[in-house]
Symmetry: C2
Subunit: 529 residues, 2 copies
């Protein structure tokens, strides 16, 4: 490889990649290639990273939780030390605004996630230690092995392969991470890996605790997630690529957690439209166009009941979409995919009220703020294509003739991360709510009332997950600590194992006095009496 | 269909199957076909059952936990009312001894599982309700939808498709069950379904809460587990059939929990052999030959260190295997498979010390109590074939030259349900234990000390699971209440949902005063204050 190609991070060393090709990131705001060249690794790099990760996994199992926590906290602190550099780089690679988005929202969230993960690792309640004193059986969740993380394009910090939510969860559960950088922000990912390596050295962690590859051929990615040395994989991104990885991992019996796509239906009942149309228009415009609509939980489909008030709301919404600044999209791929999805929706019976592709040439990646409408009857004729995710600043309005028609529509919805119902405060929408909510409930991971789905709090009660194809398993969340850690753990049971051979978390004495354990059916922070 | 063919149970009605073929069970103790004819259903029956189950799932969601608990308890009680009939039928179909096995062990276990499941349903702690009062976010595990259960041949009661562990877990989590009878005991399964229907009527449960099909074509089974109306599937049985179902369900994004195979390695360290060879021989013979070795957790592979004491132990073991009565195998298929597996092991370098196929004709399904031996060096040359599961009364001894050689062997092991290490009481084996246990730990769901793996206590701390290919996911257990229920649930999050619209389990008031919930990070039975 030419010397100017960035090296990969394997086993604690930045070493030249075994690569056959390189790639560059593109500045979405200028459509210009950024100067740095990154390698497309061959299997040799994957293999070396897997070997190192397997060793690191063994070493990590021997470390006290305190050391893992210290690493996560040191990493978070060092990130803040280099925040200006991170923000500049992420801005160049994604065109996301430095402020408030990158500096004031996403970086603090990322730092906070790492700190919460550190607290969870130190405290240990995430392990759900369960002790049956009568039968002499004790179990808990323990580290599974090396975790591959494939981060998405839309959160260069908070879901970054080597800094984001899956990363934090995997490390806190005691696993080394092999990060596969998102190709749209390799430089940001590189900076994180540099900072992670510094934190690894400062806290004397196994040197392969965090490794970084920038890109591989698809088939190498599939081998990676199904390799015997891997514990599990976290993937957030496009559906097709995710399903290929999932197919490979499933066939090998390797857990993989994929977050694929979601249109996040929002049902606005007529009483709410009557009561607060202005508020609704403002909330919806903000939520739908924030980050140029490039959120997993973007409200992509709004269901309304036909009527004069709805027509006014739609007209006002169209005006707002026209007036709102057109944001920059993350990449050429996002622009192409968005424009294609809009075409698919239009060809399937949706009418464009505003927006659509902007005349080329543009000096950046973008698309007009797009509002489409269709009827519930039309939707019911083509439910599959009319659920095409138009990732970006595009919203589909579905106008129904009756609540009963909405009730017919819900069972045609695919699994989604979220579903919302807005209703009025006087109870006139209550009967409709009671009819619709139970159906919607089964199809979404998170049900909201009177609130847009963007904004995913890092809360122990959060579910950032949902039925397929939103994610690959309806029982897990990608956000929310400690629940997200369990994905990267295995249930380990000890039967009649001699007391001094038990892990500290399963011995009679509570290891830190704060860990919650279920002892003979009672959750307690006390020791076994 | 001819009128004498047994009907299937769909939507609360015993109705003639839409079938193109029939089958009969065989009495393994006589090799004679039993008179009853059972249908091989076509897709029409699956489709009808799915429709009814989907409706029942909706109805079940509206029922109070108390009603589900009452059903499970009533079902358990009615089972005992008809226990003589159940035991006779199961004995005819499986040749398992009426006493102590069926009457004194398996039926009480089955009844106990249903009662524990009822308690869990009523009490609700299994839902892991998590309340974040500050963010207004609340989540819990809730019923997923119709569960298909494919039961194994070796537990006609305790893992029965419409009465066993997966069944109890699925119902307690609030889901209807479509049972696919194991073809070796359709009559036992029919009796259970009759009793279940009686309990459904007595407790006014949705009539499709329990449905029964006897058999389908393989491709219909694959359609069944991947159908949009299905919530999840539980499967226990042969690896090949399980992997086909798993492939179909995975591709459709439907959760499936498969328990496939396990050789359950037992490592006996030299100090233990010196200290208590007689005890070890007795324990091992009992555990390995119990139920003619037809247990998921049968100790199929014993690792010993070469030496004079080991040779004595092996000689004594061979004597015991020769002296022990030869049990009856569950079916012609089990006998064929066992004989073939023994051949595979012998052709791969194992030496037969005793046992092997018995001269035909035999008046029952059986095979001699078989003891094979090989060396660790040989094992390391063919680790894959020498891990062939010989389901039945066959044990492979692996004699190693050194502890280090055992240490090399462990990483070649596939995922297993259990792994055991026997060590002496004076500490001479401790160094070896400390070397081997961490490696074995990662490859098994349950690690035991000084205890054989048969006997799977229904304990909240039990893990009857393990890394692939023992099961399909290392985070779940098939036995142990309440943990086994979570498999058949989805994580449901409520964000900003108005208080009166929350399910009772997530409202401020603790719904029953006994349910454990995590409120702002504290596990408590109290209400939100």
């Amino acid at each position: 490889m030419a010397p100017q190609v960035h090296p990969v991070l394997i086993d604690g060393q930045w070493r030249p990649a075994e690569a056959k090709a390189t790639f560059q990131a593109c500045n979405p705001a200028t459509r210009k290639w950024l100067p740095d060249e990154y390698p497309v690794s061959t299997w040799a790099d994957c293999d070396a990273a897997l070997d190192a990760a397997a060793l690191a996994a063994t070493e990590l199992r021997r470390l006290p939780p305190e050391q893992i926590a210290a690493f996560l906290e040191t990493y978070a602190a060092r990130m803040l030390d280099r925040q200006a550099e991170l923000i500049d780089m992420a801005h160049d690679e994604t065109a996301l605004p430095k402020s408030p988005r990158l500096a004031d929202a996403e970086l603090p969230r990322t730092v906070n996630q790492l700190k919460q993960a550190a607290t969870a690792a130190r405290e240990g309640s995430w392990r759900m230690a369960t002790i049956d004193t009568q039968n002499g059986i004790r179990s808990y969740y323990a580290a599974l092995g090396p975790v591959c993380v494939f981060g998405p394009n839309n959160f260069p910090f908070a879901f970054n392969s080597v800094a984001g939510g899956d990363f934090a969860a995997a490390i806190a559960a005691g696993n080394p991470v092999i990060g596969k950088a998102n190709s749209s922000h390799p430089g940001t990912t590189r900076l994180f890996a540099e900072i992670a390596l510094q934190a690894i050295e400062e806290t004397q962690m196994p040197r392969a605790t965090v490794q970084l590859l920038y890109r591989t051929a698809h088939e190498d990615g599939e081998h990676l997630v199904s390799d015997a040395r891997v514990g599990a994989t976290g993937y957030t991104g496009a559906r097709l690529a995710g399903l290929k990885l999932k197919g490979a991992a499933d066939a090998a019996g390797k857990p993989i957690y994929v977050e694929l796509s979601s249109v996040n239906p929002v049902i606005i009942l007529p009483g709410a439209v009557k009561e607060r149309a202005d508020e609704l228009v403002a909330e919806l415009t903000t939520s739908a166009l924030m980050g140029t609509g490039q959120f997993c939980t973007n409200p992509g489909m709004i269901v309304l009941l036909a009527g004069a008030e709805t027509e006014s709301l739609i007209a006002e919404l169209a005006t707002r979409y026209q007036q709102a600044a057109v944001g920059t999209l993350l990449s050429a791929g996002v622009q192409t995919s968005l424009v294609e999805s809009i075409e698919v929706l239009e060809h399937s019976g949706a009418q464009r009220l505003t927006g659509g592709p902007l005349p080329e040439p543009q000096d950046r990646f973008c698309c007009g703020n797009t509002l489409l409408r269709t009827t519930a009857a039309e939707f019911l004729s083509h439910p599959h294509v009319l659920q095409t995710e138009a990732f970006g600043n595009c919203t589909l309005l579905v106008v129904a003739e009756s609540v009963e028609q909405i009730h017919q529509l819900i069972p045609t919805l695919e699994g989604n991360l979220t579903g919302c119902i807005y209703s009025d405060r006087n109870g006139t929408d209550d009967a409709a709510y009671d009819l619709l909510a139970p159906e919607l409930r089964q199809r979404v991971g998170r049900l909201l009332n009177d609130k847009m789905p963007t904004g995913v709090a890092v809360s122990p009660a959060m579910n950032h997950g949902g039925p397929f194809p939103a994610t690959g398993h309806p029982g897990f969340t990608a956000v929310g600590i400690p629940a997200s850690l369990v994905r990267f753990a295995m249930l380990q049971c000890y039967d009649n194992v001699r007391p001094h051979r038990l892990p500290p978390e399963l011995r009679n004495a509570n290891p830190n006095g704060t860990m919650w354990r279920s002892i003979d059916g009672v959750w307690t922070q006390a020791s076994v009496s």
